[in-house]
């Protein structure tokens, strides 16, 4: 084993017993009906390299999450570093001494940030100064061989590099306890060997450090100091590898583990052998690749790859992480169109639109890509139906697949509640549900325990040998590669060698396939010099645990700002979009109702009645339609919305007016839209009054008593829509856009997994929230300046009051609106719900309850209450005051106070609702 050489040096690091680093008693944990841990009592010795071994789903990850403090304790007692992990104060004190690297490739990394920026972020979180950070990062990157990739975004790294980067992030603060959850799952042999060399060097330089590792590789576990074997949420045995071997009398750790399992779990386990392909087997070609190349921009991912795979053959694809295996597979399935070359399946060129070929192929992608919102059974059922299986056959087929992959007990669980290994098995089951003739499997057994892997390969063997299914599989496990009929070794987009496993060993003259493999890789990558050992780490200055650390807040602020900068489209949308909206809405909303359609039903038709009608048609508010002929016509034309107003002049109107008799004019108003109807009513009444006055003067001469009402529209004498609307639209935009920018900041981390960094680092809830908020406040302020600039200089909206008062209010206001986003974000779990929630709590109150059209004073019920405290109300008051009414700080004190008060309330609520541990 590769690791054995390195362990010699590591052996000296085993520190004398210094009491347990972690002590668990009676610890239990359940996810819904699934029991992950069932009364675990365990002392984990300090200063050692401790391994957790066991099949998938036995509670290894849950145990590690509890020890790291990421998971809230629900039963039993967990003591780590001499204190109770249920105690928040102890967690706060001890978390700078613990480092936790969760399961999954780069789950806690930030994909858009570069390698350097990722490590730097963690350094800042632990309060390290610039000089110290620079030195540590340089050491770590050199030690892990990542120096050359310091500027590459983490999302573009290969799996092995991601794991190394995760380790750098975990080690930046010199932890006393390092917790690694399956750190080498999905990592190629060369990188894996380098990874453990790195850990050994670190342990040499920090002898007191305790390391707890969960692993699925028994050959790795054999090199650890002390092992914990687990099964079904319980501890089976503990001890050094030698002790475990001695106790079970087994030759290898694999065998020892199987011997430790209870009787019924052991049943049916025997060494795996896949019979050789019968000689002269069918030589029909299933897959044929001819000069396949794939280029992304200037980067060549796959370079002139050719191979032929016969029907029924098991063809293995090996190579370092990121060498182009996945890309090649995607070209074969039609997910990617090759830049050059051709691929044929069953003799036909790959055509992404050919449904028939798709039905004959089963594909499993590297990342889990099934529906996490569907149960295991529902996932299987959906895929069976999509592959057009007969409905009657589906339940039996699901039962069969569940039995084959040992999923029967988990059929009604959600995939997220299952450990990685079980999820992989589900993906496999799904890929095979429709009994395809060709299986394309991309690292199908990453993270799957040895027992299940054996079972899986047994199935592959049966499929190939009995049913003639062609299998194209990529893997990092050498014992799996040995089982293939032929393998290809890929590196940097090219196939290095293609042969039977035995042929490759012979060519290289190597004892094992792994040796041969590493030999080829080292040759191809130019015999890279072994990375220099990391410089002996100096003890970190004891980090002062302050209740509020501006430095940690700034670490999050910087990170959030970097992400924002990497996504310029978002900032551009916020800026340009808001200006566009201000223009459209400012011009569009016009409460000065004009061009109302009306018609006259004139039953008199005299000069007097025509004079009356003329009064209306002369108004700029109304536009005349052909006269109404009768009531039926009136009814029809009002019902279809053609007419907003109908004026009916009764017969004999002219005569009666002349005689001074009482007459009535009727006016019908379309009430379907009340605000318009009200305006119409006002206009009609006004015109009627004016007509009466005019008549009176005509009849009685100048001596008649008359009067005038002069209406002065203040603050916007020309009643210009834009002038009136801009001060109301700006608050609306500055509410919705910053809230929408901020809302995803927390919930997105929850959905994508990096929230774990918040759980396991010393950052407090307030620091976390304020840090996330800061960049959005800044962006929103820029947005405000841009909107104001456009309002003043492009739309020519005059500003009569204090610009500084408006700016100060805008600052308070955008703090409020971003805080609203954070508040929603703090308790929502999905991004969809967060987006919808934000639209709901910003759009409706801002448009309807904040005095944009109807004054707040006239609202009623709950709306009036919301309106009186909602920040938009007060900012509209200030915006209108400063734009139109020549006001400044002094006159607007109350509105400022209300805005300022909203900030602590919103942020306080967000802090209360945000959880510092996984629930």
């Amino acid at each position: 084993m590769a690791r054995d050489h390195d362990r010699n040096a590591g052996a000296v690091t085993t520190a004398p017993d210094a009491g347990p680093v972690a002590r668990l008693s009676g610890v239990a944990l359940s996810y819904g009906a699934t029991r992950a841990l069932d009364g675990v009592t365990l002392d984990i010795p300090a200063g050692r390299m401790v391994g957790l071994i066991g099949p998938d789903g036995v509670g290894k990850s849950s145990l590690l999450a509890l020890v790291s403090g990421a998971q809230a304790i629900r039963g039993g007692r967990v003591e780590v570093l001499g204190g109770d992990m249920a105690d928040a104060a102890h967690r706060r004190l001890s978390c700078p001494r613990i480092a936790y690297m969760p399961q999954g490739l780069g789950k806690n990394l930030y994909p858009t940030l570069s390698v350097f920026e990722n490590v730097d972020f963690f350094g800042r979180l632990f309060g390290q100064g610039q000089e110290e950070r620079g030195r540590r990062i340089a050491d770590l990157l050199r030690g892990t061989g990542l120096s050359a990739f310091a500027d590459r975004p983490a999302g573009k790294l290969s799996g092995g590099m991601k794991q190394k980067l995760g380790l750098c992030c975990a080690l930046i603060h010199d932890p006393d306890l390092l917790i690694l959850d399956e750190p080498t799952t999905g990592v190629d042999p060369l990188s894996r060997r380098q990874f453990w060399q790195l850990i050994d060097r670190i342990r040499q330089s920090r002898p007191g450090m305790s390391v707890i590792v969960a692993t699925a590789y028994m050959e790795e576990a054999a090199g650890f100091d002390w092992l914990v074997a687990m099964d079904s949420g319980r501890v089976l045995a503990t001890g050094t590898p030698a002790e475990l071997l001695a106790r079970t009398g087994a030759p290898t750790l694999d065998a020892a583990f199987i011997a430790l399992l209870p009787e019924q779990r052991r049943q049916g386990h025997s060494a795996l052998v896949i019979p050789p392909r019968p000689a002269g087997a069918e030589e029909a070609v299933a897959i044929e690749a001819e000069g396949l190349s794939m280029r992304f921009g200037g980067f060549t991912a796959v370079d002139d790859v050719s191979f032929r795979i016969a029907r029924g053959e098991i063809f293995g694809f090996l190579g370092s992480n990121g060498c182009g295996k996945t890309t090649t597979m995607k070209m074969l399935t039609g997910l990617l169109a090759p830049s050059e070359g051709r691929a044929r399946l069953f003799g036909q060129e790959v055509d992404p639109n050919d449904m028939e070929v798709r039905r004959r192929v089963g594909y499993m992608s590297q990342a889990f890509s099934l529906y996490s919102e569907l149960t295991v059974r529902q996932n299987l059922d959906l895929h069976a139906r999509l592959f057009r299986m007969e409905a009657a056959r589906i339940p039996a087929r699901i039962a069969e697949m569940a039995r084959r992959f040992d999923l029967t007990e988990d059929l009604d669980s959600l995939p997220d509640a299952l450990p990685l290994g079980l999820r992989q098995r589900l993906s496999l089951a799904v890929a095979m549900i429709h009994a395809p003739e060709l299986l394309i499997l991309d690292e199908p057994t990453s993270g799957v325990d040895p027992l299940a892997r054996d079972a899986f390969w047994r199935i592959l063997g049966e499929l190939s040998r009995q049913d003639g299914v062609t299998i194209f599989v990529s893997t990092h496990f050498m014992n799996e590669a040995e089982l293939c009929d032929r393998i290809s070794l890929m590196h940097a987009g090219r196939v290095l060698v293609s042969d039977t496993p035995a042929g490759i060993r012979q060519r290289r003259g190597a004892a094992s396939l792994e040796e041969a493999f590493i030999g080829y890789l080292e040759e191809a990558s130019g015999q890279e010099a072994p990375p220099e050992p990391a410089a002996a780490a100096q003890p970190a200055a004891p980090p002062a645990q302050r209740a509020f650390s501006p430095q940690r807040m700034m670490a999050y602020a910087r990170r959030e700002a970097l992400e924002l900068r990497r996504d310029p489209i978002r900032a551009a949308l916020a800026m340009l979009g808001s200006v566009l909206l201000m223009l459209v809405i400012g011009y569009g909303i016009n409460l000065d109702v004009e061009n109302l359609t009306y018609a006259v039903l004139d039953r008199d038709d005299t000069t007097v009645s025509r004079d009356y009608a003329l009064q209306i048609s002369g108004s700029r508010y109304f536009s005349e339609r052909p006269p109404v002929t009768d009531y039926a016509d009136l009814d029809r034309r009002m019902r279809n919305g053609e007419l907003s107003l109908v004026v009916e002049i009764p017969p004999g109107f002219g005569r009666d007016v002349a005689r001074g008799r009482q007459v009535q004019i009727g006016a019908w108003i379309d009430g379907a839209m009340p605000s318009r109807a009200e305006t119409v009513r006002g206009y009609v009444q006004g015109m009627h009054a004016a007509w009466l006055t005019q008549k009176a003067r005509e009849v009685l001469g100048t001596a008649a008593a008359s009067f005038q009402i002069e209406t002065r529209y203040r603050y916007n004498p020309d009643i210009q829509s834009l002038v009136a609307m801009v001060p109301a639209v700006m608050p609306l935009l500055l509410m919705m856009i910053p809230a929408m920018l901020a809302v995803l900041s927390v919930v997105r981390e929850k959905e994508l997994g990096s929230i774990i960094n918040f759980y396991t680092t010393p950052v407090t809830r307030l620091e976390f929230l304020l840090g996330k908020q800061a960049p959005y406040i800044l962006l929103a302020l820029l947005n405000f300046l841009m909107l104001t600039g456009f309002a003043l200089f492009v739309f020519r909206v005059p500003m009569s009051g204090s610009f500084w008062a408006l700016s100060a209010a805008a600052l308070l206001y955008v703090v409020c609106s971003t805080a609203m986003g954070l508040l929603i974000s703090s308790f929502m779990r999905s991004q969809i719900a967060a987006i919808f929630g934000t639209a709901l709590i910003t759009l409706i109150p801002a448009v309807q309850y904040s005095g944009m059209t109807d004054p707040v004073s006239s609202l009623e019920g709950a709306g009036a209450v919301i309106g009186s405290v909602y920040p938009t109300t007060h900012f509209i008051t200030i915006a209108r005051g400063t734009f139109s009414k020549a006001l400044g700080f002094a006159e607007l004190g109350d509105a400022f106070l209300a805005l300022a008060l909203a900030i602590p309330v919103l942020l306080g609520l967000a802090v209360v609702l945000l959880r510092k541990q996984a629930p």
């Binding site: 997910l335 992608s365 889990f368 890509s369 569907l374 529902q378 999509l386 057009r388 996504d567 949308l573 979009g577 909206l581 011009y587 409460l591 000065d592 109302l596 279809n640 008799r661 004019i665 108003i669 009430g671 009340p674 605000s675 318009r676 109807a677 305006t679 009513r681 006002g682 009466l692 009176a696 009849v699 100048t702 008649a704 008593a705 009067f707 002069e710 209406t711 529209y713 203040r714 603050y715 609306l732 856009i737 920018l741 959905e751 779990r829 999905s830 719900a833 919808f836 759009l843 409706i844 448009v847 059209t853 109807d854 004054p855 004073s857 609202l859 009623e860 019920g861 139109s884 020549a886």
Partner: protein, 370 residues
């Protein structure tokens, strides 16, 4: 295209929705409590408008005028001085200030045609315009009545009888409730389809679908029908239980016809959701794009302010938006009791817009999947 696939994928969407209790809660809130609160908050016609009077005349006629303003249309007017008027209006305390000049009554009776000045805070939008007309007619009526009693002059005895059809009390809650249902329909249908699509991409599940015998049309249609159905059900519940039940809004027309129109509207808006998802690279971008589209749809569709008063360019552009037609259709069916014979142009327009959006989004979706 296979209907079975569309059905199965749609059921998958519905199951996914059931797994998000917070989202379900928000949907219920948006169609019940939010509609109820927003409609109840709508002021009744001219409600409690803040008015103040500067009475420099202190005569019987000015006293009469002051007494003519009372709740619920107006607050009891405050009698203030000329000096107070400016500061009170600046602070936004009064929307209207009526200034009755010295010797108003004397001049009136002497036929010198004195003027009363009505100051209106034009930034108060709706209330400013409808209130000013209202105040003018109240003042006119009071003065005319005063003149008639004092026998000074008899104005022409012509009465204007105003009748509001379809909503005699001009109860804003009626239309407000429908407007709120419409906004929830638009908002939810865009969010559900668009965000669900982006989530599939962020979680890698869309890649998986593409290696199965499923075509883009099937994927898209499945999202449209499933999410559309959810919103349609929610709107039906909202109309029957909240609008007609709790808010007791008398609905003249046929609700099923309205729901048929809603289905067409949903066809169009779910396509908008898919289009936005294909245009946005990530969920944060989608959130912003959605606001940029949602806000104009909401504000300029004719639900908040009448279409006729918008600039012609905007009226023309908004004819391309499904909401414009949906608002017209909703008003006509629910309040004016119009049947299909009246609203068929809107149905046709929605169908056309929906079909165009569908084809356009499908094209984008196909490229998005590449």
């Amino acid at each position: 295209m296979r209907i079975a696939n569309v059905l199965q994928l749609g059921i998958k969407e519905l199951r996914g929705l059931l797994r998000d209790p917070m989202l379900l809660l928000l949907i219920v809130y948006a169609f019940t409590l939010s509609v109820y609160t927003a409609s109840r908050a709508m002021p009744e016609t001219l409600s409690r408008a803040a008015i103040a009077i500067v009475d420099e005349d202190r005569s019987p006629v000015s006293g009469r005028i002051a007494l003519a303003f009372y709740p619920p249309y107006f607050v009891v007017p405050r009698l203030i001085t000329m000096a107070e008027m400016d500061s009170r209006m600046d602070a936004g305390l009064d929307t209207f200030a009526l200034d009755i000049p010295p010797n108003f009554q004397r001049d009136l009776l002497a036929g010198r045609a004195p003027s009363i000045q009505l100051n209106v805070d034009a930034t108060r939008m709706t209330q400013a315009f409808s209130g000013a007309g209202h105040i003018q007619s109240i003042v006119s009526a009071e003065i005319t009545e005063f003149l008639r009693r004092s026998g000074a002059a008899t104005a022409t005895p012509v009465d204007l009888v105003l009748r509001a059809r379809f909503n005699p009390q001009l109860d804003k809650a009626w239309f407000g409730s429908i407007h709120n249902v419409i906004s929830s329909i638009t908002m939810l249908s865009i969010v559900l389809t668009g965000a669900a699509l982006i989530r599939e991409r962020e979680h890698g599940t869309i890649d998986h679908l593409l290696v199965m015998p499923v075509s883009p049309v099937e994927i898209m249609l499945s999202k449209i029908w499933s999410m559309g159905l959810v919103v349609l059900l929610a709107s039906a519940v909202s109309i029957y239980l909240v609008v007609r039940g709790l808010l007791a809004v008398p609905i003249e027309g046929s609700v099923p016809l309205f729901l048929a129109g809603t289905a067409l509207q949903l066809f169009a808006t779910t396509c908008i959701g898919i289009f936005l998802a294909t245009a946005a690279g990530s969920m944060p971008q989608f959130g912003l794009l959605m606001i940029l589209v949602l806000l104009p749809l909401q504000v300029l569709s004719g639900g908040m302010t009448p279409r006729e008063s918008m600039p012609e360019a905007i009226q023309a552009i908004m004819l391309l938006a499904p909401n414009t037609h949906f608002v017209i259709l909703a008003q006509a069916i629910l309040f004016r009791g119009a049947g299909l014979d009246v609203v068929w142009p809107q149905f046709l327009a929605l169908l056309g817009i929906g079909a165009a959006l569908f084809l356009f989004s499908l094209g984008r979706f196909r490229r998005f999947l590449k």
